[in-house]
Symmetry: C3
Subunit: 175 residues, 3 copies
């Protein structure tokens, strides 16, 4: 009835893997994020008005870096993991997201929640993200409240500047 | 000074139990939620303006299904567990909730936090919720901001439709 | 490749330590918070417009109790720990904060996120906070929405009353 030391360690490490992912995207630490993903990672994020699909780490990094540029503020908090070990080196995870995304470009404020369904794979001794997808529970887009004074804005410093951005519209379907 | 494998496994499973509960209520997955509760579960949720008390799984399921109907959007994120094992098959847990509840019926938007104090019991090898109660730290009810465009609304699809709802006012005291 | 029982127990206890800290500050349970800190704890919180620095448990308790008085509402939710054991009795932790702070005195509403970098030390068999600092990712200060009806407000009951407050401006730099 009890898990083994190895299984408990795997739960621990898989949780930390995903924790790093969320910290990495909101601080635009792309070096960190890149190291958390399998080379053949696949992504399928089904938003309210969009669907993002990428294949492989290069495409995924391109999408992520352009999704959280310097003129946005982003909070992605992944909660309440339900991890299942499916083999010695494979696992699945369900997470429940709360996200806030403020675009100074579009001047809007998105509040959302979503359920992630991930697959993980151990490679060279480290757990990595092999597949990640989410389905929205809530997504509401508000006009940005301009009475709010922005006192801290890390992405302004760390995110891609307008002239560094790349067209990623081929990875995104607006629905 | 170290926990046993069994104890660490119990922490793991009790956390996952409660994680499933929160995912279940916000997606109206009542089959899932029902399986997480002892037959004689008791609930006592002390809100700002209300108190909900139920006795047994049937009454609890009735209350929950009617609390999160198709014309509402709900986020219940339970954080920062403090689990204490009180016996081989009994445990207690403290959790810290953040919730958002948007009622399209009353046209309001509730933001709240609360401290849960739960009791768990192992039945047939699985941890279940035996008792759950919370006390509010914050509860603020705002008029709904109708400038917000709802792009995703899972409960509209999965929650009880107006004609499926039942009067549960006997389980609820408005204070 | 697997952690030991002791290491897994340490992860568990360090997480619970920090969970208690957050519950303690938002409910103004200063007795609880005091017991979680090393006597020589150091704090360095770099906000958007402020920086708080304290040295030792007395100064830290003074700062905390005055930071969350009876005319404020506070939510501090620490998420997604990344714990590293650095010795038998020392550890480090990264946490990702979401906080809401509503001041009825200044009539404003702060929404923020931050990355904590903590150090922990085991003393007399219990893990305690030896050092804690954070750097803001997001901090936005809105005027308070007075259309919001406050139905629960625990700090009104448990936080320092105006006449009990102390001047802590020497611990705080406004930038």
């Amino acid at each position: 009835m009890a898990y083994t030391l190895q299984q408990l360690s795997d739960f621990e490490d898989i949780r930390t893997l995903k924790h790093r992912y969320f910290r990495g995207i909101d601080t635009a630490d792309w070096e960190l994020v890149r190291g958390l993903m399998c080379k053949d990672v696949t992504v399928d994020y089904k938003g309210g008005g969009y669907r993002v699909m990428t294949n492989g780490v290069e495409e995924t990094m391109l999408m992520l870096a352009n999704a959280f540029p310097s003129n946005s503020l982003a909070m992605h908090h992944g909660h309440m993991p339900e991890i299942t070990l499916t083999g010695d080196d494979t696992a699945e995870g369900i997470w429940y997201l709360e996200d806030v995304f403020i675009s100074l470009e579009r001047n809007d404020h998105t509040f959302g929640t979503a359920i992630y369904r991930d697959r993980y794979r151990r490679e060279g001794g480290s757990w990595k993200i092999a597949h990640t997808e989410y389905e929205r529970v809530i997504e509401i887009v508000y006009p940005r409240d301009e009475a709010g004074q922005i006192h801290s804005h890390m992405l302004a410093r760390t995110g891609l500047k307008p002239e560094e951005r790349t067209d990623v519209s081929h990875l995104l379907v607006w629905e």
